[in-house]
Amino acid sequence: MRPSTASTTSPQAAPEQSGGFFRGRGFLTLLLVAALLWSLTSLSWGSSPVHPGGLASIGQFFQAALRPELSAEFLTLTLSSAWKTVAYAVAGICLAVILGFPLGVLASGVLARRWASRIPGVAAFRFLLGCMRAVHELIWAWFFVAAVGLSPAAAIFALAIPYAGILGRIYADILNDVPNPPLQALRASGASETKVLLYGRLPMALPDMLSYTFYRFECAIRSAAIMGFVGVGGLGMQIQLSLSDLYFNEVWTLLYALVALVLLVDLWSSWVRRYLTS
């Protein structure tokens, strides 16, 4: 199950349009292709897209893919920085859930029964969530590194804030989209909106919310790795160090570790999602 806000534009899901060419998919495709071509011509390419000597570098880089650095010393370093990245991601996503859940409930406006008392709160908290996620985690990271120095706290906060913004927004949407009749029945038995949230909305929304949180956890692993680029450690920092020394073999070891990590989380989360939806 996916939250309804995740777009459902997969080609199989969309029904075939039968109304003429201009309303159909063909026209839209043509329009998008034209836009792409126009955007390519508007870039300044210089004489060639690849600078002199660049081709050789690319060759070296991809040759190194077959010979990743496998010395025990470097593998230990890879493992410990992978561990650090995972730790950042876990701590960051946990903090994001703790922040995002109450904000999401407030931004959904489900606790207010009347329209008039609902609008200002919804607008304010949606705006707050919007601000939190409008700024990329990397920029938050620079900000926090400047504020608290190169400590794990900087990485975790930098991750947690935009992710809380994303999670809160999606939680709010999921809570709003819960089918209404069971909620009406709870109200009819005298339940306040808070009790309706506890007894109706949350139980019905929880599978979708958890599933989306797991998806975001996957993204958090990648973000946590990138976070290393600002110097707080983890896979990203090692990748950057090896890259600037042109040790491509080391870069590949680290990249493989990152891929393995994301795949593992993906397996775990799909297992959990299957368990939740069955």
């Binding site: 009749p181 009406q184 009819a188 005298g190 009790k195 139980p203």
Partner: protein, 256 residues
């Protein structure tokens, strides 16, 4: 019907009630009085205003004109909440249980109006008023389903859970919108019997929209016929004639 112990006011009273949706009238100036302990079947073709009538009595919708009184008090003066839930409980055709919760939680939900927020929260983790929940499930004949997830139950079983929730709510008036519409005749009869005996045992009032005239004659004390939002007849079931029903559903055998 027990005529002794009469209360000074009818439990449900509609005074010139009208309800319009986007300009078209669902009910027009309806007057109706229902005394405690009556079992009223609301009959009529689709779109005649049966569901609207039930929703107005449940306080789920407000009339455009006229007023609804419950136990002598105007419904408009009561906000939705504990007080209203002690007076009326409603069961819908679609049951409206929370499918992700276990049966026990759906039964407990009938008590939410009376419980504090804290008790409601705790009840999600550990069963409150266990005896009440078990008794209600026993009464509807599915005591073994206590811990089961509601979505895993069959349609008929879910119907029973909805009744158990009404039992735990203990409202004085029970409203039921087509409570057995989607079931086969034998099961429909079973469940109607169960619903009516639950209501009768505790001297509650039942108002239900019903399709079957057979069930109406067998289980109800009074029949109210609605057509285009107006009252077509209001009779004790013994005096409910086939002509009256034919007029209601506009079946004219002579014309054939």
């Amino acid at each position: 019907m027990t005529r002794n112990g009469q209360r000074p006011y009818p439990i449900v009273r509609l005074e010139g009630v009208s309800k319009r949706y986007n300009g078209s009238a669902a009910l027009s100036s309806l007057d109706l009085e229902i005394r405690e302990g009556e079992r009223v079947a609301v009959l009529g073709p689709s779109g005649s205003g049966k569901t609207t009538l039930l929703h107005l009595v449940a306080g789920m919708e407000q009339p455009n004109d006229g007023r609804v009184l419950l136990a002598g008090l105007p419904l408009a003066s009561m906000s939705a909440g504990p007080k209203l839930s002690e007076l009326v409980g409603m069961m819908h055709q679609q049951l409206d249980l929370v499918p992700h919760l276990s049966v026990k939680h759906n039964v407990q939900a009938g008590r939410l109006g009376r419980w504090s927020l804290w008790k409601s929260l705790v009840s999600l983790v550990s069963l409150r008023e266990r005896e009440m929940v078990e008794r209600a499930l026993e009464r509807v004949g599915i005591p073994e389903k206590l811990h089961e997830r509601t979505s895993h139950l069959s349609g008929g079983e879910q119907q029973r859970v909805a009744m158990a929730r009404l039992l735990s709510q203990q409202s004085r008036v029970v409203l039921a919108d087509e409570p057995v519409a989607s079931l086969d005749p034998a099961r429909a009869e079973d469940l109607m019997h169960l619903l009516v005996s639950i209501v009768a045992e505790s001297g509650k009032t039942l108002i239900a929209s019903v399709h079957s005239t057979h069930l109406t004659r067998k289980y109800f004390s009074r029949a109210v016929g609605l057509r285009n939002g107006t009252l077509e007849f209001d009779l004790p079931v013994e005096r409910l004639t086939d002509e009256a029903l034919n007029r209601l559903y506009d079946i004219t055998p002579s014309r054939a």
